[in-house]
Symmetry: C2
Subunit: 231 residues, 2 copies
């Protein structure tokens, strides 16, 4: 009897949508860790979507890895960092790790609630999902709030090389995931802070960012500078 | 010259409010780790509140520890677990840690959005903050959603000893922090699941839970069974 063929492990698959900051965060971490991934668009708002079969929370992203379905971007990213340690995206000291996690929540919770979600919902998702016209009050409120957040990031970056300390970390990719979605539709005023622009230019020029910069959402044209490394 | 007196380290202080699930989560972890803490009520909605001086995100809880001000309950709890390892609240395997973090986000994000926030906002905070009358549609929507969450928790607890695996973890305290707030105002139908009731009875009977069970919100009487270990 001949030996059974060894089946190659399936390529990881990410169920995602293009302009979701949470999906982008996982994509950036996968790319930074040089883990190849197959991207599958998950149009969870359409009839027939099987999102609840993949994630009982009904949310994207979902990562299929080693035969398992994994959900929640922060939990996935910390898992990837623990299992594929190079390059590290979490520092080694407990206090430094706290600061990375505090800032990840800052962006995924506060920045998302005040900026990413209202602006993208009104300016992109209502169009894509054919769910009515944008509410300009929500867009304006998001555009007001983004200024305060940019100022806070500038204060941090004037004290540190990267957002959470002196090493690139998951906090930088989390923040960049949100800002890159807004930048796609040209809603970041980079003239407000040279410090912040320099930080984003550095993050954006990493090879891990290439796939995100090549994104195209049908019907939503990216800003002319979106994919330019010198903007 | 006599030796300078050694100044005793200040007792940790938690700026909190009583029925916040995020504050309770940190209180439970501090108590489980036997870290004494001074509780200071942070009425952040009142004029003159200094919350933004303590946390630029303007949110509670804030923990003053070793002269530092720390924010974001999940980041604080992971820091406490890393620096005070006994008893451990995070498992050692990467996949088990992923599952704890996934479920912490489940409760702090999804459960909070669908259940804790709408019910407590309408039934408690509007009264405490003198901000109008409860919107019964939001309360009803929360009470409908809590059933699905209880069913999901029951499914998990039928496969495992604790929510995230076979050891007590931060996921159990996170879930219990949310459920205990609802239980204070009697909004958990324990008859729905004997499995879930048993789990909650076990968590509730831990010494770490005592301070939470002694809570009293002025003007909001706790349910008669709230502090009973046999309910």
């Amino acid at each position: 009897m001949s030996a059974s063929p060894v089946s190659a492990p399936a390529t990881p698959r990410l169920y995602h949508i293009t302009l979701s900051p949470f999906c982008r965060k996982v994509r950036l971490v996968l790319a930074e860790k040089r883990i190849e991934v197959e991207l599958v668009e998950e149009r969870y708002w359409e009839a027939g979507s099987e999102i609840f079969k993949r994630n009982p929370a009904g949310k994207i992203p979902v990562l299929r890895l080693d035969g398992r379905l994994m959900a929640e971007s922060q939990a996935i990213c910390e898992y990837l960092d623990e299992t594929v340690p190079s390059p590290p995206l979490m520092p080694t000291g407990a206090l430094d790790r706290y600061e990375v996690r505090r800032l990840c929540t800052w962006f995924d919770d506060k920045f998302n609630d005040e900026v990413t979600k209202p602006i993208l919902s009104e300016r992109v998702w209502k169009k894509v999902m054919k769910a009515g016209y944008p509410d300009s009050r929500l867009v304006k409120s998001g555009l007001r709030a983004v200024k305060d957040h940019m100022d806070y990031m500038t204060v941090l970056l004037e004290q540190r090389k990267w957002l959470a300390g002196n090493a690139l970390s998951l906090a930088d990719f989390t923040a960049a995931a949100h800002l890159s979605c807004l930048d796609y539709i040209s809603d970041v005023d980079w003239d407000r802070s040279a410090t912040l622009r320099d930080w984003y230019a550095t993050v954006k020029s990493r090879p891990a960012f290439r796939s995100v910069l090549a994104d195209q959402v049908p019907g939503v044209t990216p800003a002319p500078h979106y994919a330019q490394l010198d903007f």
